[in-house]
């Protein structure tokens, strides 16, 4: 579904990704693991067209999307939930949701504002709050809800548990598991090994900007040497 081939990318003078290749399969959850600074978030930003590509290519359902503008990539069905959540601060919660909902009117059985509120009832209580008045957990729920309202074919999540209380982490976990059961394809970047491996089907490990390990979730759980060497678990 999503193919990264020999990707090179970075910020300014600094190259972060060095020939990174990976594939995400439809209907499955791929976890991208690795230490801080390994290039996980850079990979996601490069997929979304937010960083200039220096080499390699990204294709989505057989179409090359590298080189397209971010808005064009988003319109092809990739929804991005960034690490910093990036809720629009001067918009209310309702406006944040509507912004995505009205641009991507739901196909049959798709996501609507009512449906994401049913998924995250907390957002329903906060509809008229400003985007800058949310707790970390609420902001994360809103970021995921906004992504879902784009009715994406692939949901891309960057560290959804970062900075959240354990009870909220569990809630986010359960909701993502629900989305997975419904067949939504996801790419998940995580530092939290337990969280990631309980959701993912497939795992890749990034170190110094390229893939150093790939396999199934069961395989990474069993491979203590790889866990110790690449993840410090």
């Amino acid at each position: 579904m999503l193919d990264l081939t020999d990707l090179s990318s970075g910020y300014g003078e600094t190259q972060v990704l060095h020939g990174l290749s990976l594939r995400a399969e439809p209907g499955r959850v791929l976890a991208i693991l690795g230490r801080n600074g390994a290039g996980k978030s850079t990979t996601l930003k490069t997929i979304m067209g937010l960083l200039p590509l220096r080499g390699g290519s990204v294709s989505f359902d057989g179409e090359t999307i590298s080189g397209l503008a971010p808005f064009d990539i988003a319109r092809r069905g990739l929804a991005y939930v960034p690490e910093t959540r990036d809720i629009f601060r001067s918009l209310t919660v309702r406006e944040n949701l509507d912004l995505a909902a009205r641009r991507f009117p739901c196909p049959q059985g798709g996501w609507t504002v009512e449906r994401v509120i049913a998924l995250f009832p907390r957002l329903g209580e906060r509809l008229d709050n400003g985007g800058d008045q949310l707790s970390g957990g609420e902001a994360q729920m809103l970021a995921i809800a906004r992504g879902l309202l784009m009715n994406p074919r692939l949901l891309i999540l960057d560290e959804p548990t970062e900075g959240l209380a354990p009870i909220i982490v569990r809630l986010i976990h359960d909701k993502l598991a629900e989305l997975k059961r419904d067949g939504l394809s996801m790419v998940l970047v995580e530092q939290n090994f337990g969280f990631a491996t309980s959701l993912a089907d497939d795992v890749v490990v990034v170190s110094k900007g390229s893939i150093v390990w790939r396999g199934s979730t069961a395989a990474i759980r069993a491979d203590h040497e790889a866990q110790h060497r690449w993840l410090g678990v």
């Binding site: 979304m48 067209g49 937010l50 503008a69 971010p70 808005f71 988003a74 319109r75 929804a79 991005y80 960034p82 990036d86 629009f88 601060r89 001067s90 918009l91 406006e95 509507d98 912004l99 995505a100 009205r102 641009r103 991507f104 985007g131 800058d132 906004r146 784009m150």
Partner: protein, 289 residues
């Protein structure tokens, strides 16, 4: 003098009228900056162009026709500028943008000299807006009241569009975070073009309605540039509320300074600007938190 109610009413109206002209100019510039971090120093030249076009058209179409068409002409010029110069400068960084648009000011000044000459041009006030109106015991020119009402009307329309419509929400989202706005499928560059052209039209409108009360001269664009920049720096870059607040502050400080503290009037606004920059470097009501 200062115990006379009429004095305060008169000066308040004068201040409001200056504020509204500055608002029409600064709102486009500040939203353009907020959305794309683009500095267009030639914004004042678009104002001057609006005044000249209005002065020229007024002879043919009458003043109302001129008021209507001058903003459209300036918007068209803005679109040409966008496709020839501004789009290619978008990623060039602030220094290149400042130099290119600063250069444009000189091109504009000499172009207006070549076309319209050095002498100030006048334009007649529309007949229905001639004369004075008694207001709270003061006789005030109807035309200047018209400028105040026009400014308030534009403010009302812009507020409604920005807070109540989907396009408005998209613009606010783009000012908040242009990258994330793109990631929810918004073509931020096209939105920038739209905002840029509307901002040019408002600058043209400001020039057109100012033409009957000021003399239309080649350097009027340069003269208005500094006040406009002060307005957006005091108000806070990128925000509509900031443009309103900055314009009112500038209008009132300038007007009342000139009559109450005449010997300090020219430094007052700069002192205030410095005070704002020291205590609130982002301006009083910045778009970003």
């Amino acid at each position: 003098m200062t115990t006379d109610v009429g004095f305060w009413v008169l000066q308040t109206l004068n201040a409001l009228q200056l504020s509204m002209l500055l608002f029409l100019l600064s709102v486009g510039l500040t939203v353009i900056f907020g959305l794309m971090h683009f500095v267009n120093l030639a914004h004042g030249s678009l104002y001057a162009f609006g005044a000249y076009v209005a002065a020229t058209l007024a002879g043919v179409l009458g003043t109302w026709g001129a008021f209507l068409l001058a903003p459209l002409a300036v918007a068209a010029l803005g679109a040409v500028l966008y496709f020839t110069l501004i789009r290619s400068q978008r990623r060039a960084g602030p220094m290149a943008q400042v130099l290119v648009t600063f250069g444009l000011i000189f091109v504009a000044v000499d172009a207006t000299r070549l076309i319209w000459g050095d002498l100030p041009i006048g334009i007649a006030i529309p007949q229905v807006l001639e004369g004075q109106l008694a207001l709270l015991g003061v006789e005030y020119p109807v035309y200047r009241l018209f400028i105040i009402v026009l400014g308030l009307a534009v403010l009302g329309v812009l507020t409604a569009v920005l807070t109540r419509t989907q396009v408005g929400a998209m613009i606010r989202a783009g000012v908040d975070n242009d990258q994330m706005a793109a990631c929810v499928g918004i073509n931020v560059e096209r939105m920038f073009f739209l905002v840029f052209v509307v901002g040019c039209a408002l600058a043209g409108l400001a020039g057109a309605v100012a033409a009957p009360v000021l003399s239309v001269t080649p350097d009027m664009g340069l003269q208005i540039l500094i006040p406009t920049l002060i307005v957006i720096v005091i108000g806070g870059l990128g925000s509509l509320k900031g443009a309103v607040a900055g314009s009112l502050i500038f209008g009132f400080v300038q007007t009342f300074g000139a009559v109450l503290l005449p010997s300090f009037s020219s430094v007052l606004i700069y002192a205030l600007l410095a005070a704002v920059l020291v205590t609130r470097p982002e301006g009083l009501l910045p778009a970003k938190g």
